[in-house]
């Protein structure tokens, strides 16, 4: 069956340029076998112009690389675009999940560094949503030579309030989130997802749902939630040494405005752009505005 978009809705173009061994044409449906390379571990999808400046998009807590579907086309015109799933999310290799390594954002950051090295990328524009903004900060700390710029969408270096610092959450809130996760994992199951969706003519939607929700092991989701909401990376911010854009939405319950200001003030030379978009996922709710802000920053 011929398809012109992959499962994430990303356009597949004929005549892709291939560069050596590291840049393979993207298959119609990304195939991610259980074991193997770092590329397979993260179910990497590559697209765009291989010779363009590489942009690596990292999804946040609760989602997978599909989150980027609306902004990616904008950058595929002139960038080499890399999408991936964090280990434990989406279609990543669950067997690569290590409860010890992934009990810290540093484990996720080390994954990113390994990924960039395997793909042989440098001068990377790392676009990190939510917790992935901090994963990017840590990865840049580990391998500064790989990074060229950083885009943080709704970053929050510490969710839990601490003295004068307002992260937006109390410990009880985090407990509540963990409970909410538990409640939903119990209600959903992989077998039920297609039935619930009730759209047999669009099986890819059922698949998407399965990927995002049900393929995630509840234990992993819970631990990722803990790691996300119980990390404190404030002291890592001043170490960021590449041009950085902080994108701040309105009414973002997860990364309130003062937090965006805090990040901006503590990442040297960073640019703070406030979006009209509301909520925590402007790349979904306002992809044009989000992409434009990133473009402006990269042009600037």
């Amino acid at each position: 069956m011929h398809r012109d978009r992959n499962r994430h809705g990303l356009p597949l173009r004929a005549g892709r340029v291939t560069r050596g061994q590291t840049w393979k044409p993207v298959p119609a449906v990304a195939y991610c076998p259980g074991m193997g390379s770092v590329r397979e571990r993260h179910c990497v999808t590559t697209s765009g112009v291989p010779t363009g400046r590489p942009m690596v998009f990292a999804h946040g807590f609760g989602c997978d690389q599909g989150m980027w579907r609306f902004v990616v086309p904008e950058f595929e015109r002139d960038h080499a675009v890399v999408l991936f799933d964090h280990v434990g999310s989406g279609r990543s290799d669950l067997s690569a999940y290590d409860p010890v390594r992934h009990d810290s954002l540093r484990g996720y950051a080390a994954d990113v560094v390994e990924l960039l090295r395997e793909l042989d990328l440098t001068d990377v524009v790392f676009v990190g949503h939510s917790v992935s903004a901090m994963i990017g900060v840590l990865a840049e700390q580990m391998a500064p030579e790989l990074f060229g710029a950083m885009v943080m969408i709704g970053p929050n270096p510490r969710y839990v309030d601490d003295g004068d610092y307002v992260g937006g959450f109390s410990r009880a809130d985090v407990v509540g989130l963990l409970d909410a996760l538990d409640a939903n994992h119990l209600g959903w199951s992989a077998q039920m997802a297609p039935v619930i969706m009730g759209v047999p003519d669009r099986p890819e939607l059922a698949e998407e749902l399965t990927n995002s929700f049900c393929r995630t092991d509840p234990g992993i989701a819970r631990q990722f939630a803990r790691v996300t909401f119980l990390s404190d990376n404030r002291s890592d911010l001043p170490g960021v040494a590449v041009p950085t854009l902080v994108l701040q939405c309105r009414e973002d319950a997860i990364a309130p405005d003062p937090v965006g200001v805090y990040v901006h003030e503590h990442v040297p030379g960073s640019v703070l752009t406030r979006l009209q978009a509301r909520g925590h996922c402007p790349h979904l709710s306002a992809p044009e505005e989000t992409a434009a802000a990133i473009r402006d920053f990269l042009r600037g």
Binding site: L105, D173, G279, C281
Partner: protein, 747 residues
């Protein structure tokens, strides 16, 4: 009837009801219903939803629906519900909790669809909300049960790992490693330590040994040690015990509390390690913030008590540890006993072969630091006071410290020093854990203290060397922290070693006394240097044996008389003080005989005749000669002695002096036979005892042949030079017998 009428009426009413007003259906539907614009702002909500929220419609409209969720639900909506809705267009059965106006929470399930325009952009969100209190409670109970089951399974797994890991352990250290690592991981503890009770000094309280510690910062470990030393043993029977960092602890143990606070430790958990209800030690775990990179979910300073299931797990681990410790100890004890037996055997062998006491002591110290201790110092009592004879360290890099200690003799030490006390009291001194205050007490100055500290001693044992009730010295063993303090078995072995060493030293000291006496006696009997006799060159040598008792009965004598010189060389049988005494007596009698100037054969005959009267206990061989320096007239007679050697013009030969029976041998009818001749000018006469030509490896004939060759090829007729050559060629560093030599050259 009523039912029928009612039924009829009801049917009419039903029709009316079914022909319902859509607006009423919307407003009063048995579910909440709301619509929101992208971003979540509610633009329409039904009465049921508002009623559930407990808020008037005006309050609900215009607010974001997320604002009506619990904080956890808000995050879930932002990270899951809204993204999925955007990507999939619909979500079903999302569990969320509504926050009602009165502060209560209403568990719900939410279904939602996204209404999109032709371009695919979101226009509206429509959601239905079902109350699900009972279902959610059921699910929560289910989840709680499942989680409890998982936790229980996790604990069983920990226990399984502990048991299977312990099965492979053979040493106490192995056991400690398993217990510390497994329990630490199971409780996500910051650190852990296994402390075992060790036998106390005689009559003293049992001591404690930290077998394995993991993840404890040094200051905390130090404070913990101090606490443990002070009273933990007493608290052992109290079961698993939690010591939270609180005001009470700050008051009762300020040092420990401060160290815990510094290390971000909030709680100390002490688990008894038992076997058959005997306390073998404790497992200590420190719990606290900051395990890994994450912030604790508990508010600072608030930590829930350890779950009962964890307490049970720890108690079981404590028992498992106890049994494994017992097994490992038994195993270690068995192999240690074998080692000890081997060590004592080796020591016994070494001591049996003892020749020189200093060398023996040094070798024993070297053996001890190889097998028993890290430090071994041996002090021996001598006539000139206590001497530090050996001081060894196992680690060559630290031998320097012992060399410095060696220079510090025992009498310069404080009375409290274990070596001094052992020697003074004649009893073994066992210092289990010499702390700094103790070191201060037993050292005499800062330098001494510095050395003692640098040794990092974890135990000291001083064993007096006692034999026949006499205190001959003291051997002191030290164990450093890496080895850990000594056990009762170690001390027992040290005492056995001390006993063996004492016997050897006693024997050596008796022997030394004898040797010294004999030598002094002998030296007083033999003329130190030969007299000057005109016309003659004379040289003498006396070399004691190096094997066995270093004294013998060999002698020589040169006495110038009126017209001749009387010469004598002899050998009293035996190598001891009696032989030396007999030789002295014989020498005196011989001198007395010389008054009359008797011929050599007459000397022999007279000695033979009076032997029994003299009461000499030993027989002797001897050769007597008289030489007239002016003429060279030489007369000789031999009582069982080897023939003299003549060196004449570079030719060596034995003079055929016929030996008669030995002095003191049973009487025989024949009198002594005398040889007479002339010693030409330039000729040299060499008299010797059998020690020169007889050895363990060569018989007399070989030795005499060799002597001939050496003398002939010596190329000198200077008596001193000749003797030096002969001794150099014919003797080595080890001699089985004394040697007396007399060389005489007629000028």
């Amino acid at each position: 009837m009523i039912a029928v009428v009612g039924g009829t009426d009801g049917e009419g009413g039903l029709d009316r009801l079914l022909d319902e007003d859509p607006a009423d259906l919307y407003e009063n539907a048995p579910m909440g219903y709301f619509s929101a614009v992208p971003g979540g702002r509610v633009v329409k909500a039904n009465r049921t939803f508002c009623a559930w929220l407990g808020r008037p419609a005006e309050e609900v409209l215009g607010a974001r629906f997320q604002d009506f969720l619990t904080p956890g639900g808000q995050v879930y909506a932002e990270t899951h519900l809204l993204p999925l809705l955007r990507m999939q267009g619909a979500v079903r059965e999302i569990a969320l909790d509504l926050r009602r106006a009165d502060g209560s929470v209403l568990p719900c399930l939410v279904n939602a669809v996204e209404v999109r325009d032709d371009a695919g952009a979101a226009v509206l969100l429509r959601a239905t909300v079902f109350e699900a209190t009972a279902r959610r409670r059921y699910e929560r109970d289910l989840l709680a049960a499942r989680r409890a089951a998982e936790e229980s399974e996790a604990r069983s797994r920990v226990l399984q790992h502990v048991v299977s890991d312990l099965a492979a352990t053979v040493s106490v250290e192995d056991v400690a490693t398993v217990i510390v690592q497994r329990s630490r991981a199971a409780l996500r503890a910051r650190g852990a330590a296994l402390v075992v009770v060790v036998d106390g000094e005689e009559g003293g309280a049992p001591g404690l040994r930290f077998v394995r510690t993991d993840g404890l910062p040094p200051t905390l470990l130090e404070e913990f040690r101090a606490t443990v030393d002070r009273g933990l043993v007493r608290e052992l029977p109290l079961g698993v015990r939690s010591v939270p960092l609180d005001e009470a602890l700050h008051r009762s143990r300020p040092g420990l509390a401060a160290a815990m606070a510094r290390a971000a430790v909030t709680e100390l958990v002490v688990v008894p390690v038992t076997a058959d209800s005997r306390q073998l030690g404790v497992l200590a775990l420190v719990l606290g913030e900051g395990v890994g990179d994450l912030i604790s979910l508990h508010e600072p300073g608030e930590r829930p008590p350890l779950p009962e299931a964890d307490v049970d797990l720890l108690r079981t681990i404590g028992r498992q540890a106890g049994q494994a410790l017992e097994r490992a100890r038994l195993h270690e004890e068995t192999s240690r006993q074998a080692e000890r037996a081997a060590f004592l055997l080796e020591a016994a062998r070494l001591l049996a072969g003892a020749a020189d006491v200093t060398e023996t002591v040094e070798r024993l110290a070297a053996l001890a630091v190889e097998r028993l201790a890290d430090v071994c110092v041996i002090d021996l009592v001598t006539e000139v006071g206590t001497r530090r004879t050996a001081a060894r360290h196992r680690d060559p890099a630290r031998q320097r410290l012992l060399d410095e200690l060696r220079a510090r003799q025992l009498p310069q030490r404080s009375d409290d020093h274990p070596s001094v006390r052992a020697l003074a009291e004649g009893r073994t001194q066992w210092v289990r854990s010499p702390d700094d205050a103790y070191l201060r007490r037993i050292t005499v100055d800062e330098q001494h203290l510095a050395i003692s500290r640098a040794l990092e001693l974890a135990g000291l044992v001083a064993v007096p060397l006692v034999a026949d009730g006499r205190r001959l010295g003291v051997v002191t063993f030290g164990a450093d922290r890496a080895r850990g303090s000594f056990t009762a078995a170690d001390v027992e072995m040290a005492e056995q070693l001390g006993l063996q060493l004492a016997l050897v030293v006693a024997k050596a000291q008796r022997y030394d006394l004898e040797v010294r006496t004999s030598h002094e006696l002998q030296a007083s009997l033999l003329p130190a240097s030969p007299p000057e006799v005109p016309g003659l060159g004379i040289a003498v040598r006396y070399l004691p044996a190096t094997y066995g008792v270093e004294v013998g009965g060999d002698f020589y004598d040169v006495v110038p008389l009126a017209d001749h010189v009387a010469l004598a060389v002899g050998d009293v049988v035996g190598h001891d003080i009696t032989a030396a005494a007999s030789m002295g007596q014989l020498g005196s009698v011989y001198r007395a005989l010389l008054v009359d100037g008797p011929a050599p054969s007459a000397v022999i005959d007279r000695l033979q005749a009076s032997w029994s009267l003299l009461g000499l206990q030993r027989m002797a061989t001897a050769l007597f000669a008289s030489l007239a320096p002016a003429t060279g007239q030489l007369r000789m007679a031999s009582a069982g002695h080897l023939p003299p050697l003549l060196l004449s013009g570079g030719t060596a030969s034995y003079l055929p002096v016929v030996p008669t029976r030995m002095l003191g041998a049973p009487p025989a009818p024949t009198p002594a036979v005398e040889w007479a001749g002339v010693l030409a000018a330039g000729d040299t006469l060499l008299l010797y005892t059998d020690g020169l030509v007889e050895s363990r490896t060569a018989d007399v004939d070989e030795g005499m042949d060799r002597l001939l060759q050496v003398a002939a090829s010596a190329g000198t007729s200077e008596p001193d030079e000749l003797l030096d050559r002969v001794l150099a060629e014919l003797t080595g560093p080890h001699r089985g017998d004394d040697i007396a030599l007399l060389a005489l050259t007629r000028r």
